[in-house]
């Protein structure tokens, strides 16, 4: 590569990041507040669990990926390390406020981003079978009305009839007038009538909400820490699909995740103690390096969890091994833990729903194993 190669950081626009807040209580709506709050960091493109949390104790790791495996990781136990970009996360782990689930995935093995992303949010039994998302369904079951802060409404939060969203616009010379919106809403039918109608009840805010993921996380944390703040938030970060030059790209993206965790903690303040924040990605990446210093779409990966509700800092895994015969289809890290169980435990902890109900109504998998005790007690 020529000397003119610029790093992406010089030009990195954060336009790919967006924040969604959900579960804002409606004034006058009486209901017990759920016991905690839940935040999901969606990592689009397929985060490489072997880079984020290298299993350095597995002799096959360096054999398979000598060229791209991080070397200056922080050892968290005799087998697993944490990538050096995850500094904040590492210190959270040492104070028993963070855990890792490794060799895990949603049960999806076909390596398409778009099917995988649909499943990790919709949690249907097959791609594109669900029109609602697992967090939306969980909030609905917990009877928490939703309000998302975003331009669109991500699939993961759909499923709650009371869902709404807002995202302060930044359009020069524009104004909106609530009585006009009211008239417009009456001229419309269906969902759009309702959306316009809700819009007419809002004060049109002109505040500039930050748009980079770290400020969004801090903002979300602050909002969730308020007495009548939202119960859930979702932050979306892209650019994990590192088919080429993975080292620099994943280093930067992991740093963003790490700063997002720190941003949440700052924003949440005392509410950190009842919070859980988890990452979610559509799949991991191949064990072996491809020809362009990157990796291809794979299966098993790692999930990062942090929050004051975590009981013990540790890596939870049934390690499958990295030798060729232990790999899924001779190429990917095998997933030995169903990540839906992790999501279910986080819902149970934050929304106070019963595991069996979550398993059958949120994930349509009545036999989904319960992982709660590993994470929270």
């Amino acid at each position: 590569m020529s000397k003119y190669k610029l790093t992406r950081r010089d030009f990195l626009k954060f336009s790919g990041a967006s924040l969604f807040l959900a579960g804002l209580p409606i004034p006058g709506y009486t209901k017990d507040k759920p016991p905690g709050n839940i935040s999901v960091i969606l990592l689009e493109g397929g985060m490489d669990g072997l880079t984020a949390v290298p299993p350095y104790g597995d002799p096959n790791l360096m054999k398979m990926r000598e060229k791209i495996s991080p070397t200056n990781f922080k050892k968290v136990n005799p087998f697993f390390g944490l990538h050096s970009s995850l500094r904040n996360f590492t210190s959270l782990m040492s104070s028993n406020n963070a855990s890792v689930i490794h060799a895990t995935s949603f049960p999806y093995i076909k390596r398409s981003h778009f099917e995988g992303q649909n499943l990790m949010q919709g949690a249907g039994l097959s791609p594109f079978s669900e029109k609602t998302g697992w967090l939306g369904r969980a909030l609905d079951l917990a009877n928490v009305p939703g309000n998302a802060l975003s331009l669109d409404m991500p699939l993961i939060l759909r499923g709650n009839d009371d869902n709404d969203n807002f995202y302060p616009a930044n359009i020069k010379n524009s104004s909106v007038n609530t009585s006009l919106i009211n008239l417009i809403s009456k001229a419309h039918d269906n969902d759009e009538a309702e959306i316009f109608s809700k819009l007419s009840h809002k004060s049109s805010s002109s505040s500039r909400t930050p748009r980079d993921p770290v400020s969004l996380a801090e903002y979300a944390g602050k909002e969730m820490s308020k007495e009548n703040g939202p119960t859930a938030s979702v932050i979306r970060i892209g650019q994990f699909d590192t088919h080429a030059n993975q080292v620099g790209a994943h280093d930067r993206q992991l740093k963003i995740i790490d700063d997002v965790f720190a941003g949440y903690k700052r924003g949440l303040g005392d509410a950190w103690d009842k919070s859980i924040i988890l990452t979610l990605t559509e799949f991991g990446r191949t064990v072996a390096v491809n020809g362009t210093s990157g990796t291809e779409h794979g299966y098993g990966t790692a999930g990062l969890l942090a929050g004051g509700t975590i009981s013990k800092g540790r890596v939870i895994a049934q390690w499958p091994g990295l030798s060729k015969k232990d790999q899924f289809e001779g190429r990917d890290l095998m997933a030995t833990l169903d990540y839906r169980s992790v999501c279910a435990a986080c819902i149970e902890r934050s929304l106070g729903l019963d595991h069996d109900l979550i398993a059958s109504k949120v994930f349509f998998a009545p036999k989904l194993p319960r992982l709660y005790d590993y994470l929270f007690s």
Binding site: E44, S112, H113, I171, N173, S174, S175, A187, N290
Partner: protein
Amino acid sequence: MNQQFRVAQKIGLMFRPGTAIPDDIKTWAISQLHSTSPALGIESILSKVETWPQTLQPDLDERAKLFRLLQGTYLKNREIKNTKEKQAKDHQNKIKHSMIKKDELKFAHRNVYGNDQIRLRLMSFWSNHFTIGDVFMNEALIGHAMEEAILDNLNGSFSDMLYKVTTHPGMLTYLDNNYSAGEESKHNIWCKRQVDCQAGLNDNLGRELLELHTVSPMAGYSEADIKQTAKVLAGWGANQDSTIDDLKGYGTTNHWDMYKTHYAEPGNKTVMGKVIGVGKGGLRQLTDHLASNEYTIMHISEKLCQHFVSDNPQKKDIDFIANSWKRSKGDLDQIHSAVIELVINSRDDKFQWPMNWLFQVIRLSDASYFHGWGSVHSGSKNLMEVDQVFEELGQSFFSERQPNGYSSHKEEWLSGAMLERRLRFASAIHKVGRTKSSPEQIMDRIGANMTTRNLVKSAGQNSNDRFTALMCSPELMGLKSV
């Protein structure tokens, strides 16, 4: 709404005031398929509509040079200690060497001022089908691909377009094919003998070629098929930061057929049962094979139907497009004619994408809402810069995004925040866009329905409110236009 405007809303961009409205909409629409036009636009907000200057439309050779200058100058500017001075120099660098914003403005101008409205909508459809997101290294190539791989190939076969897009340097860069080398390629074998050299396959483009661009997962291909596809593709593409001499060595026609023989995988490949020959010609064999595959035809016929006709297309409508595809062996004129026929006969509503709605609002009211090309990089007090407009809309062909492109489904675009933006853009266009047609004139022209007329009437005396009400009515957003 009159039939003419209803059709123009669904598959065009609306008739600008002063343009003739055809009596026979079908004849007009079909003839539009061949109504090619240079890029029209304005130099400054008050100047007349004319053709975009050639100097702002460089060819691929020139774009490769500009990109190298852009990178080199950014690197040089890093040495500057004074932040303000560095910012000013970086800005100058962008004005002189960066193409992405110029291309985005040209795209906006074309859509606002163009008379080739159906071709422009088809360009957007196919540019979305063959998404090329901004990965910086291809910043000068996205707009070029949209015009020269898509727009210029609208009258050929799907197979031609597929091949042109797949081999476009913008796509080869976006989906990482530039560095992909066959496992048994000369380069890979050489590389293995070096210290610290790495080479081999990258399957990113191969995977999306099958999943998104042609047969889709419905076809049930295997991981081995993806790998074989990547082997066919190995060798295609050249790095944007190679020297000009290197680039010349790899291709012959203006950088578009860059093929590095020493990166190619020797031997035949087999993709979904089809044996693909060795060498540069192999890719064309593969794209031809994929283009005529039954699953490709069904996948894209459904997508066309969903985008232009109905969110929930009927089987018979999808079959109608698929049959014309099969009869004509993938002739895009025939395929597009079938889509036009469905649009004319369909009673279904089709909620318009934010960007198409914006263009339609500007065209119907004859507004000037985008900067002229003379001030593409300079903001102004009243007008937003072109990239900000699309960012606020939540939809831009020039942004970083995933290769599956934007959804055509209403539910993906219907939210409070999205609708608030429509209200605000309508209001801003009326306030600062020097609209030349009043809501009443527009309603008479399009034959607005009673709901729309009553809504505008109820909005009272304030002309900004009346304009906003009209443009955000169910009829003008495509929610109720029959």
